[in-house]
Symmetry: C2
Amino acid sequence: MGKKCGLMVGVDLGGTSMTAVALDARGRVLASRKRSTRPELGPEGVTLRIAATVRKLLKDLGKKSKRVQGIGIGAPGTVDPEKGVVLYAPNLGWQDHPLAEMLSRLLRLPVTLDNDVNGGAVGEHVLGSGQGAANLVAIFVGTGIGGGVILDNRLYHGSCGGAGEVGHIKILAGGPLCGCGRKGCAEGMASRTAMERDMRQAVDSGRPSLVPDIMARMGRERMTSRVIQEALREGDPLMREILERAQNCLGLLVASLVNLLDPDCVVIGGGIADRLKDEFLEPIRAKAVRHILRAPQLKPVRIVPSRLGDHAGSIGAAVIAWNRLAGINPVDS
Amino acid sequence: MGKKCGLMVGVDLGGTSMTAVALDARGRVLASRKRSTRPELGPEGVTLRIAATVRKLLKDLGKKSKRVQGIGIGAPGTVDPEKGVVLYAPNLGWQDHPLAEMLSRLLRLPVTLDNDVNGGAVGEHVLGSGQGAANLVAIFVGTGIGGGVILDNRLYHGSCGGAGEVGHIKILAGGPLCGCGRKGCAEGMASRTAMERDMRQAVDSGRPSLVPDIMARMGRERMTSRVIQEALREGDPLMREILERAQNCLGLLVASLVNLLDPDCVVIGGGIADRLKDEFLEPIRAKAVRHILRAPQLKPVRIVPSRLGDHAGSIGAAVIAWNRLAGINPVDS
């Protein structure tokens, strides 16, 4: 009984959707919920929505809901983990929102707050493919590129909580415009959004591609990971070319991170990685290895796919809650 | 008496020259020596040369030489600080050289070993312009670009001792060849060597510049920092253009580092920075600030010039010896 029988809820709050899981002390997910975020409701509205989602999750848990000891939230943007305040979340349009306090009042449970991709990094480190790595960098490729840095087995926040913005490491001086409004960022070259922009531009300029048809057939307005996968399956040369360009950039990003931080392990996750698996990872790894500076007698860095997939962020948020509220790390059994 | 009256010797071992200082517990330099390295003598020969340089320094110290408690060495390349072994130093052509043990036997004093630019970062952190910064990145621009990372007030080594290779962070995918044999590294675009290459190519292709004349007049075979300074003073447009290109790259490098690590402070040092001072730093800072992602209400990162100049590495090596052998940090008085 006691700690070992407790549960923590983890919530990964994204710009589009939120995912909540209940995690036991062995690192097992007992229940999960997914729901749209609807950022247009504003910080208070979205906070109520998180509370409602957690209440549903508690209901799913039935009697076990009594064992929930706390909630960990991962929010997109810069947070103050000590104060539980979302300082700046451009995707949500939030500034200085006291999310942890408000949610704690609504749910009468202690709440910890961190950045969403920091959560993903912690999840992969404690329960995913980064287990055993004292120093780890996680990169999540989706509409943007986010990441988290674990140093000496601890999440590294930096001086103002802003560390881990791997998507805004520069890869190509003067390169394409990034969503952040600046040029040359990895995110502006290798995110799904960047690939979609490159695809649209190429198609608009008259290059043939199956992608528009596939999107129409699938009823998608965006070039989702499933669309990318289908285009590759059908042998679309333009899709392959655009993907390879992104993979080259990600390989350089991985090399830069390894040359700077000399981690044991780099975990690559996010929607495309989860869907394409080795087809996505292998060229990134090959490119990275060629650009990593390393004394020849040292063991090579592990470059591995995320294992927790879509749940990395919510599981990680729950792990952070386990760490901070109960002082333990859930252990994969 | 005791610790407070002790001295540590610090040696910065470079590919061309070595610098040795004697540092007291207040962080004051009591004596210094500089001498060519002559890497062609091989690892044993160079080690004997270091020992001879330290003996001269001890002689300079006179009676005070009895107070020397140990020696810190900063070596160029990957080192194992625990074992005191230089694992891989391509500039010197060394692999697996047990430098600390050999030197300790020759001089009958305890010897600590670290990377040379790690030493520079520690020097600037403890006694230079990075004082008070819990998280700091130091960048030294010279024939190459090296750096060191201080996190949570401690030197960060990474998993295999290879951390801090800021010069091999990629800035321009597919860009010019770097000394490491790969393309697109910061070092291949913004080191003094890269600027000299760009200058030679431009002059060879017929662009006018005062630099060849200045080099001839000064009797220099290389485009040294003094040559660069003189060319700028005489208003050479090509020199300014090449310098600006390097500064833009360094600005992007600083931004990448800040976006990833969110440090309190970035210190920029090395020969050109020491010589050109604000003329070198200001454009780098301006470029970096435009590319740093940061919540608007947070305090900006400090981007400052090195204060210890040419002695950063040797002072830092001595500080590391103070840390490891005496368990204290010398304090600037």
